[in-house]
Symmetry: C2
Subunit: 351 residues, 2 copies
């Protein structure tokens, strides 16, 4: 019997049928005709008894655990992982799957997360979601090859696993277009200096918008530094000190934007009157708590989690046809989140 004490035989007895019939009805087993009347009776019996199947028995019999594993780096450092969990879980519930989560230390070169994957395999998960902390290219643990798996926020160096990543270019386009539409033509870009996809792709988006609007690109307005608050501050001080300073700053992430806020304050520049700023990531602890609120681009963590589970389910149901891999990772939309840091530039500026 299930944990609550009622088993399929109890339902069968109450409905006056065999356990086989109960199973058929409750599982909607295909190619099984049970009279509508019987079905109703069974359903009612199950309901009155509060019957739920014993998952272990079912798992043993069907050889499907009903578990899927989420392996995520650094669950504890940002809310991002939380959003992935949420998305994954919502999708899992739809398919009556249970999500098991394992935290992984940040990958210390080479030694990828074989052990963590093994933990999940030992737990008999049917499939694994492998999520990284930020968008990058990775070599997946060898033992991940033995299980259905999909990548979240990273791409497989060997390009064999399905993956979902943020549409970095699109996000940058949305951010910069927002600035251009507000009237800005001199826009600085405080970029990251790591060799990661976001660095390159956000720059592409930045250029794309300016180009599309026929705005000449001043390369001196494109700066790079580590994507932290302090470097963001330093870069902003530098670029804002120029006589032909930009009227707006597009920042690689919210932390750099936070640095830019400080620089603006020190320079006596009011945001957004004297300077507009757009960030990236939408880390609410920062973006919503700055003065004024930071207009930024949100990362699709929830959506990636959801997508990953849905994809896994398709994979599990043998959907080898719709092979998502080779045509590259799926890029998910990064929406602009408008708060108060963007306004039209001052008219009386000197070019």
């Amino acid at each position: 019997m299930a944990v609550n004490g009622v088993g399929i035989r109890d339902v069968a007895r109450l409905a006056g049928v065999s356990i086989t019939t109960v199973s058929h009805v409750l599982n909607d087993t295909p190619q099984t005709r049970v009279s509508a009347e019987t079905r109703a009776r069974v359903r009612e019996a199950a309901a009155t008894l509060g019957y739920g199947p014993n998952r272990a028995a079912r798992a043993l019999r069907t050889n499907r655990s009903g578990l899927i594993g989420l392996l995520s780096e650094e669950i504890a450092t940002t809310p991002h992982a939380g959003r992935i969990i949420l998305g994954a879980q919502d999708a899992a519930r739809v398919h009556d799957l249970t999500l098991v989560i394992v935290n992984a230390e940040r990958e210390s070169s080479g030694s990828s997360h074989e052990d963590d994957v093994q933990t999940l395999i030992d737990r008999q998960v049917e499939a694994i979601l492998y999520a990284t902390m930020y968008h990058r290219q990775i070599s997946v643990p060898a033992n991940l090859r033995g299980v259905p798996a999909v990548l979240i926020d990273s791409t497989d160096r060997d390009g064999v696993l399905p993956a979902a990543v943020p549409d970095e270019v699109g996000g940058a386009v949305a951010a910069v277009a927002h600035l251009v539409e507000a009237g800005h033509r001199r826009i600085g870009f405080l970029n990251n200096d790591d060799d990661v996809p976001a660095t390159h792709e956000r720059l592409i988006g930045f250029r794309q918008v300016l180009h599309r609007h026929g705005i000449p690109i001043d390369e001196r307005l494109i700066l790079q530094a580590p994507s932290e608050t302090l470097p963001g501050y330093a870069l902003a001080r530098e670029v804002l000190a120029r006589h032909d300073r930009p009227t707006a700053l597009f920042c690689y992430n919210d932390r750099m934007a936070m640095g830019a806020y400080r620089a603006a304050a020190e320079l006596g520049l009011d945001i957004p009157r004297d300077l507009s700023i757009v960030g990236f990531d939408d880390q609410e602890l920062i973006s919503a708590n700055l003065f004024p609120g930071l207009t930024t681009v949100a990362l699709p963590h929830y959506e990636m989690g959801e997508w990953a589970v849905s994809t896994l389910v398709r994979l599990l149901s043998g959907d080898t046809e719709h092979r998502l891999p080779r045509n590259g990772p799926t890029r998910l939309h990064c929406p602009l989140v408008t708060r108060g840091s963007v306004a039209a530039p001052q008219e009386h500026r000197k070019a």
Copy 2:
């Protein structure tokens, strides 16, 4: 056979013993004597085959799923839930338990999380960790009574469930003592105005330290407002405008401290030279990114998660003796995290 294809019979065959013996050896079944030599042979066979037990079969037989559920509010909004997950998971691994996580919407009065608890029960978890977003008193869902359960970051109104909460008083004491030891005697307290335990207990800690050091308490230095950045800013502006302004501010949380930073900046007060600030919560996105870094008090989320699982394990093993409940919740230490926002007060102050 287990998911990887090798079952207990394979091990038995290779070791040349019965499956019973394999089971005994691998589970260290008490009151079973197996020769050291046989044990070794079995262990080796299991290792070479890479045998792991089929969890479903074991669960079915023992009627223990090996699953424990973590029900957490708002997983996706702060890293706090992540820290709880981490602590719980580390403890779970020690006991060979698998952690299943369910997110819950923030409790919308009355309608507590019965459904979420039910989800976990349906999944046949052996026990439930019930975690709230912030320290408060709650009425637990009725159906939580049917399962071994412990509370994290909240206390049961009816005081029947074991619970772990932060030692708010101790945390406040650490914070304020740090200020006093740096030489401050006029210390303002920007408190929350919600009727939650933290509000009252942090105030108790604040008073305790001043009292202990024989520092008279100026009630006008104790202000209250919603625990957000903006109210923190407003309060700081107000108290810092006074001619006998405090030389240090103890803030209810990091967000209010963030507001105080802004107030200080506008007033031309340098932190920590002209004003020392201590926060609470240690939300790193804020505390580590402010200039200078915010000295604050960390919440014991990891520890609460760990404690909860350990306690649950004791409960499950029938440790009804060590009934933790009635003597109130277990209070876990909140350590001070020193960054750069505290210094000795300026000597040339006018009282």
